[in-house]
Symmetry: C2
DNA sequence: CCAGTCTCTGACCGATCGGTCAGGCATGAT
DNA sequence: ATCATGCCTGACCGATCGGTCAGAGACTGG
């Protein structure tokens, strides 16, 4: 069996538990039990419970930022397609992280660990709506955005299967064939 | 100002706090402070914290059950339309309750208070998918189902505005005009 | 006036929370 | 042998959690 550092084990187990029971629903004791070490060991490797959360979210948040940056120079239609593909891909690679970020309550999302995430979500939402300011488009974008995350969380389908399906439904809902006559 | 019983006040404040901070993130102290009474008063009116939750969910759960029952005799296409309309309407009338039910983590949803909800969600999901067993349709149904709930939660738009928009996006995503050649 | 009921509360309980701390046990360089 | 360093732990801390309980106050019918 592969040799893994205690620190990485802690992150792995914490991601699992946070995604399953929520941040507040997971105690340091629970994580320690999952890792097979003492609670004090967690706090030797990490300054606090919040620090574990922050480190878990960090990678996903950075990639989300990169995606948003990649979208910026594109025109509305291209950004919309790239946003759908990129977001589905991102959320499939960060299932657990997505669960704990999106599963968190509104108030919870305003913790410092998530501070820089919110503007990125807004940007992504705008891209999903093809930069339209029409409230209908914006709401539709939000529905798809959050719907995709939620499905990925509690679905145990193969990511490869889900990928095409999710992109498909997002396209269908967001990209109107030839809008009017 | 209208005269309200302490009991109703407790339910009102609890719904607010649960929706905002989550069940685990809300303490009896918090609710008592919001109501303006002591924690002991909460436990005079309700046997436990769980009991408050159960009573909050009850009405929404019953109406969801009624909706699902109403769907059963219809054919696939009619059930799909009725499900969309009915669900959007339901979730707009029970915003806070929807927030705490859907915002809860997977494990949380398996508490006894929600036990009878899960099969109803499955039935609703099937209706959204026009009773198709195609995985694509099922996933699309789930995306829309959860997406709608999530949007309603943190949106402060007028319910009347949202209603048409949500029904519209759901139809667009789920009902395929003339599917194939 | 009294007894009974309803509503409410402060004081208290054991359990658990996140977090601290002094020290044990390796390993490796001097 | 000695010391330093990295990793880990049991014991402990104050705070807060959900929940209990005896009793205070208000209001009622007899």
């Amino acid at each position: 069996m592969v040799r893994v550092s205690t620190r990485d084990e802690i992150l792995r187990v914490a991601a699992e538990q946070f995604a399953h029971f929520g941040y507040k629903g997971t105690s340091l004791q629970d994580i320690a039990a999952g890792v097979g070490c003492s609670k004090a060991t967690l706090l030797y490797h990490f300054a606090s419970k919040d620090t574990i959360l922050a480190e878990l979210v960090e990678a996903a948040a950075r990639e989300l930022g990169e995606l948003v940056a990649r979208l910026e120079p594109l025109d509305a239609a291209a950004a919309q397609e790239a946003a759908i593909d990129g977001f589905v891909d991102l959320v499939l690679r960060y299932r657990q992280e997505a669960a704990l970020i999106y599963g968190g309550m509104p108030q919870f999302l305003q913790e410092p660990a998530f501070a820089d995430l919110l503007p990125h979500f807004d940007a992504l939402c705008a891209a999903f709506a093809a930069r339209s300011t029409d409230p209908d488009e914006c709401v539709a974008a939000k529905v798809l955005l959050s719907g995709i995350v939620t499905v990925v969380i509690d679905e145990d389908l193969e990511p490869t299967d889900l990928r095409a399906t999710l992109v498909g439904v997002a396209r269908r809902a967001l990209i109107h064939p030839h809008d009017k006559d």
